[in-house]
Symmetry: C2
Subunit: 302 residues, 2 copies
């Protein structure tokens, strides 16, 4: 068998690997590059990757993005709006905080009215998405920093939580970077974002120092709402309310980051973002339910 | 040529890769696993990895640690004490701040006297190392968080700095985790660490918001001092002042994290830590010299 050229021979593979590694030390290739047949076409891009695409490229493919799940079609379409009923007092405070914030924001931003009249256009959707994603990137980074500093000052190990929180933070920031490829926010928007971040960073940092359990539940409920929002967005695309997005191609950064087929459309971008939000929902509800010094059950990119 | 079994045939390697990836999706193997012949022995550990070793395992090997350089013997032994002369006013403020802090700390902690009399023992070295590493883990995390939040609130890309800063932060925390495997710090020590972190986190965060250039230069000079300290420590091991460390085996977490040979000694641990510090020295001097919105020239783990 050893003399055949059969590429299925596992022994041959083992022999190859060290040689491959030594001669091309900079190339860090993993399964993610070619998990789906659709992404095969990307190999042609590899030689001359556009700057925008390069920015979406993951660490395992020689880029610098943290690992994150790559969803298949079944996973993408099967995302459901779910609700985990609050049990403890902490859960309830988290749940009603999120509900209050959401209702207030929806009313103030014109979303409630727009959903009622069915007249939210692409620009309004983008404003909402951009604003929410600038907020969504905060909790993961704050959580990671607090746990890092606690580990340093209490001289204790972290139990593997930090990488998951950082992955969430970067993933949310990539949602924002993607949305920015199709919008140019104005000065009022920017001022709102600055103010909101100032308030949210201080409040969330303080809350994380007091009760990580509350914070992860809060994010869990926030993500339940995010899944709702993106599901409504998908419906709006499908029933013809967002005609431009129906015809719009996915930006390159998104194709590379989520390993979408080269001809992916805007709808697929919303689909993968929604799947990410559903993932954060599960992860944060889980992290809230385990003890802060239990081992994090999530490996990198999962 | 295609029909031969020669493992040097590049075409064969390309054929193998997708198959390998599809059948073993969870295994993320890269060059780092088998760069040195010494680490080959680790494959036997893989099946039953101790908890301590598992905690040191990198992301590319199925663990959750961020990528970081794996040094070869030549790199380890060729680390030199270097000094980059301050040029601008900002450089000079950074340099003299570090010098003042170091002199004060050396005097106060008894290091100046101990070095003079040649009577610093293992316990005193460990105290110094632990204290300094709890501080060393701060700048990378603060820098990463500030840049992440700036990217979110200014709606601008980050230019690939965050991953390098996070890698530095985790690497410093791994120095601490390793040192903690060979020491049990007392209550006074812990109180000092808490206080120092409180002061340093506030001061450094504020400084990073005002001048990232100053901050990276400051860390560059701090790392110049770290390389000095670890070089003195190595000398103390070599000339018989630290008899215990001459006979001490490396903790498992260190063997796994730095891919050391299974029979590595404490001296090798100090060597890799020193190489890490020399690396942070270069990286931070570079990041201080380029503009904050230039592309970060360092890929992950390098
Ligand atoms: Fe998001
Ligand atoms: Fe989210
Ligand atoms: Fe260090
Ligand atoms: Fe350092």
């Amino acid at each position: 068998i050893n003399n055949s050229t059969g590429s299925d021979d596992p022994k041959l593979q083992i022999d190859h690997s060290p040689h491959f590694r030594e001669t091309r030390p900079k190339t860090k290739k993993t399964n993610e590059t070619t998990t789906t047949p659709e992404t095969e076409g990307l190999s042609t891009i590899e030689t001359a990757l556009s700057e925008d695409a390069a920015e979406g490229r993951g660490m395992f493919e020689g880029g610098y993005r943290l690992p994150h799940p790559i969803w298949n079609e079944e996973e993408l379409e099967s995302v459901k709006i779910t609700h985990q009923p609050p049990v403890t007092v902490v859960d309830k405070i988290a749940y009603y905080s999120v509900q209050t914030i959401r209702r207030g924001f929806d009313l103030f931003s014109g979303y409630t009215l727009g959903m009622y009249t069915g007249r939210l256009d692409e620009k309004q959707w983008l404003k909402r998405i951009i604003f929410l994603e600038t907020i969504a990137g905060v909790p993961g980074m704050v959580g990671a920093m607090v746990r890092h500093l606690v580990s340093l000052r209490k001289l204790k190990r972290d139990h593997g939580w930090i990488h998951t929180l950082l992955e969430e933070a970067e993933n949310e920031r990539m949602h924002l970077m993607t949305a920015l490829r199709v919008a140019n926010p104005g000065i009022i928007m920017k001022a709102c974002i600055m103010t909101a971040q100032g308030i949210f960073v201080s409040a969330f940092s303080l809350a994380y120092l007091i009760s990580p359990r509350f914070c992860h539940r809060f994010v869990g409920y926030l993500e339940e709402e995010a899944v709702k929002t993106y599901t409504h967005c998908l419906k709006a695309i499908d029933n013809g309310e967002l005609k431009m997005w129906k015809l719009m191609k996915a930006p390159e950064i998104a194709i590379e980051y989520w390993k979408l087929p080269p001809d992916a459309m805007m709808r697929e971008v919303i689909l993968v973002i929604r799947a990410d939000e559903a993932h954060h929902r599960t992860v944060n509800h889980t992290l809230s339910s385990i003890k802060p010094d239990d081992q994090n059950p999530y490996p990198p990119g999962q």
